[in-house]
């Protein structure tokens, strides 16, 4: 197997309970070496717990975890955090306030002083903190603290780097830049890394693989593109991006629904819910005979979100280019572009 010859992190059916509450319900994951993975999910879905299980700060109740081909956690045996070769970047950075930048980065190094100093210099350079070695953590900006935390985690050359909501403490403007920097640094270091985030945009733009966690279990692991275009379940589709659902009857490659016959990405039969992304709808002004009416318009500048009322009374959101000026009540025609996804319909 590919994963075995090139092992990064492997979780198998990991379960974690807090008393009667099951925080993580059988998570399995496989991350090849050198890849970046985002654990994406709403707050309380168990993503941080999963990260802490990998780091060794929590003990699992069932399943196994292996890092770099070595099993580090099972029901009976837990490798303590300090022997897992895991670098962790904490949400609030957890820089040691009594140590300066260089000392913080030096902290995890256990080689000869000379080698350690050299390593500190290399890592400091890599994260672009050269010249700030003598500063104390409180004398640094948020972005700089972030980079010290990253450098400290990378310095001992860990098998994996774990990052817990690493950008949530930065203000929006800074966040985009730091994100790109961190990604570049991790790539340059050839690190295997797991991010925890609740921010879809962050997850998609940053990593090779996204694992969506909902209610304690991983629903889908795939590339950002696939995740967006082919969500594995209706719940994932609802969580990732915006979604319209319409009941329809699938008949092989084609599904019949209120929006007309649409072409499916996958064969399906029977009654289904059809996923239509707002971005995949084109809306045009039409004569009064057109059946759809504009109900609401939110204008953003670079695009606009138009809510249409269909003949059935159902609403459809469409994200369209700003070229048309839609008036409330205006008759319009609509067109769905590309292939669509369908999910077995839920009985309500």
């Amino acid at each position: 197997m590919i994963a075995d010859s090139n092992p990064g992190i492997r979780l198998e059916k990991v379960v974690k309970r807090y008393g009667a509450v099951v925080a993580v319900t059988g998570v399995s994951l496989d991350l090849p070496k050198g890849q970046l993975l985002a654990l994406l999910g709403p707050s309380g879905c168990g993503k941080t717990t999963t990260l802490r299980l990998i780091a060794g700060f929590e003990t699992l109740d069932e399943g196994t975890i292996a890092i770099g081909g070595q099993q580090v956690a099972s029901r009976d045996r837990q490798t303590p955090p300090e022997r897992r070769r895991v670098g962790m970047v904490f949400q609030e950075y957890a820089l040691f306030p009594h140590l300066n930048v260089a000392q913080n980065i030096h902290f995890g190094l256990h080689q000869s002083p000379r080698d350690a100093d050299r390593r500190v210099a290399v890592v400091t350079e890599m994260v672009g903190l050269a010249g700030l070695e003598k500063r104390l953590p409180h004398e640094l900006s948020g972005g700089q603290q972030q980079r010290v935390a990253l450098a400290r985690a990378l310095a001992p050359e860990p098998d994996v780097v774990l990052l817990d909501e690493p950008f949530s403490n930065l203000d929006a403007g800074l966040r985009v830049r730091v994100r790109a920097e961190v990604r570049a640094i991790l790539r340059a270091a050839g690190a295997t890394a797991v991010f925890v985030t609740h921010d879809q945009e962050e997850a998609m733009s940053l990593v090779d693989l996204v694992a969506v966690m909902l209610e304690g279990s991983v629903q889908q692991v795939s590339s950002p593109q696939q995740l967006y275009h082919q969500p594995a379940t209706r719940a994932v589709a609802e969580f990732v991006g915006d979604a319209n659902f319409f009941p329809g009857i699938a008949n092989g490659q084609v599904v019949d629904c209120e929006l007309g016959p649409l072409v499916l990405q996958f064969f399906a039969r029977g009654s289904v819910d059809v996923l239509v992304r707002p971005e995949n709808v084109t809306v045009k002004p039409a004569p009064a005979s057109a059946p759809n009416r504009v109900k609401r318009v939110l204008f953003f500048g670079h695009d606009q979100l138009v809510t249409l009322q269909l003949p059935s009374g159902r609403l459809l959101d469409a994200r369209v280019s700003p070229i048309y000026n839609f008036a409330i009540g205006q008759p319009v025609t609509l067109q769905v572009n590309g292939l669509v996804m369908a999910y077995p319909s839920v009985v309500r």
Partner: protein, 518 residues
């Protein structure tokens, strides 16, 4: 303008004792002063005081650090109860503690009484250094205990996790991350503890250990060379100011030390497993030695006194006196602190912060120093006031005004200036605004400040002893004089009363802390 004048007056009044001491000792001249400072009797006092402070602080740390760790970071059974019990010795004033020790282990004490039939007529002496160290350690380690606990709570658990993920074992993590992070809490707590030990008069005087406070008292009592006493007092003040400045500086730095924001996760508790029993035994021993035994001894003497037909009349007189002067002191302190606090918070300027600093000076002045200075000052310049209640209240005010200033300041800081501005824009004058908005909102702070002063005044020994009118007995004085003359049964009832009052003050302090933390 009126306010500034009032605040200035308060600040000047607070500066009076120290200024007078300076003047008084300057009469000696440099040569004579140096001669006194270097004579063996003086150096012995200095050495004694330093040794006492160092020993008590060291032993307290040896108790407080493990106890704080056990009650905050482990799965010790009944942690909440232990936390309360281990902090409780704080409510026992040092002279009550010394009295308990003397009346148990001293000549004519309980143990002596038991052993006499067996032919033991002399126990090893507990007077001097051993008794003083024991008593002060056991009744003041809670200061350090509470400060280290707060340090543990403020610690970001992610720090320890970071150290673990960087390859440190739990033991290494404690030494390399936890302890360095606790260092500000330990050093500032330790310095304040040393300050407390240096200022203590009750324990060292009863246990006859010649540290500064006792030496000063003996000088005052025995000799007519008052300049010498003044000089001793000045040296003591220099030491306490040094400690206070050190503690302040460390606490100030602690503030900047918290890098990063975000919510701190609940800390993980260490499992003690079989060590649990050792830990429980340790906690139990401390509680027995610091709480159960002393209070048991006091109750024992109370019962014996009642058997012997000891009358409670002097106790009720002393209680009345204590309550009366403490209430007066509370009112005066709050009234004096109000203008200073208001100016400092609402109209910050260099002058106003100097006023506040002057008013805070009392913190650094041991009670015996204030008392001594005011005795000299009264006898020389205002004989009308010498040994009157007015002088006594003035002494209390110098000593305890900083406490009410602290609570009033906190209270004012919590009132948004926007509220006062709203009142002004609604047509109220500045003075009416103070009356109708600021003071009503400040009411909790005023009450807390007054209560704090009241309760600490009741416990105050040296100021009462030296400044009170002749024959004016309060609870504190009653306990001290009965204990020093070995009338142990007579000291029991006032001691119990005092400890209960003192317990109340702890409750108020803890509530204040909770409010300012929340």
């Amino acid at each position: 303008m009126l306010l500034v004048a009032a605040a200035t007056l308060v600040a000047l009044a607070m500066l009076l004792p120290l200024t007078y001491l300076l003047l008084r000792s300057s009469e000696l001249g440099i040569v004579r002063a140096l001669e006194i400072l270097t004579n063996p009797r003086t150096t012995q006092v200095i050495v004694n005081s330093v040794v006492l402070a160092v020993l008590v602080t060291t032993f307290s740390l040896m108790l407080a650090l493990p106890l704080a760790w056990l009650t905050v970071r482990t799965d010790l059974p009944g942690r909440k109860v232990w936390s309360a019990l281990l902090a409780l010795p704080l409510v026992i004033p040092s002279y009550v503690g010394a009295y308990a020790l003397l009346s148990m282990m001293g000549p004519r004490g309980i143990v002596q009484g038991w052993l006499e039939p067996l032919g033991v007529d002399r126990l090893p002496s507990i007077y001097g250094l051993p008794g003083a160290v024991w008593t002060l350690t056991i009744f003041s380690y809670p200061y350090l205990f509470l400060s280290i606990r707060a340090g543990f709570y403020n610690l970001d658990p992610a720090q320890e996790e970071a150290a673990r993920s960087l390859g440190c074992s739990p033991w290494q993590t404690f030494w390399r991350v936890t302890l360095p992070n606790l260092r500000p809490a330990i050093t500032s707590g330790g310095l304040l503890l040393a300050l407390y030990v240096l200022s203590d008069f009750g324990a060292v005087s009863l246990l006859r250990f010649n540290s500064f406070t006792r030496a000063i008292y003996l000088q005052y009592q025995g000799s007519f060379d008052r300049s010498y006493a003044a000089l001793l007092a000045l040296v003591l003040v220099a030491m306490t100011i040094l400690l206070l400045v050190g503690a302040r500086r460390i606490q100030g730095r602690q503030h900047y030390h918290r890098a990063g924001v975000g919510t701190a996760r609940r800390q993980r508790n260490v499992r003690l497993r079989t060590w649990k029993w050792v830990a429980l035994l340790f906690c139990l021993m401390v509680v027995l030695a610091a709480l159960v035994l002393p209070m048991g001894v006091v109750v024992y003497w109370l019962l014996r006194g009642m058997q012997a037909g000891e009358t409670l009349q002097p106790v009720s007189d002393a209680t009345m006196n204590s309550v009366y002067v403490a209430a007066l002191a509370a009112v005066v302190c709050v009234l004096g602190a109000l203008p200073v606090a208001y100016l400092q918070v609402r109209y910050p300027s260099r002058y106003h912060s100097w006023l506040a600093r002057a008013a805070y000076l009392g913190y650094a002045l041991p009670g015996i120093v204030i008392a001594l200075s005011l005795v000299f000052f009264g006898a020389n310049f205002v004989p009308v006031l010498y040994q009157t209640l007015a002088m006594l209240i003035f002494g209390y005010t110098v000593r305890f005004l900083p406490q009410s200033l602290g609570t009033l300041r906190t209270g004012l800081l919590q009132i948004s200036p926007r509220l006062e501005e709203a009142a002004r824009s609604l047509g109220l004058s500045r003075r009416r605004t103070v009356w109708r908005v600021t003071l009503p909102l400040l009411r909790p702070g005023i009450w807390a400040g007054a209560a704090l002063v009241f309760l600490t005044t009741i416990k105050e020994l040296p100021v009462t002893l030296l400044l009170g009118p002749t024959g004016f007995a309060t609870l504190a004085v009653e306990i001290w004089s009965a204990a020093s003359e070995a009338f142990y049964a007579r000291a029991a009832a006032p001691a119990l009363l005092l400890v209960s009052v003192s317990a109340l003050s702890i409750v108020i302090v803890l509530q204040q802390e909770e409010r300012s933390n929340g």
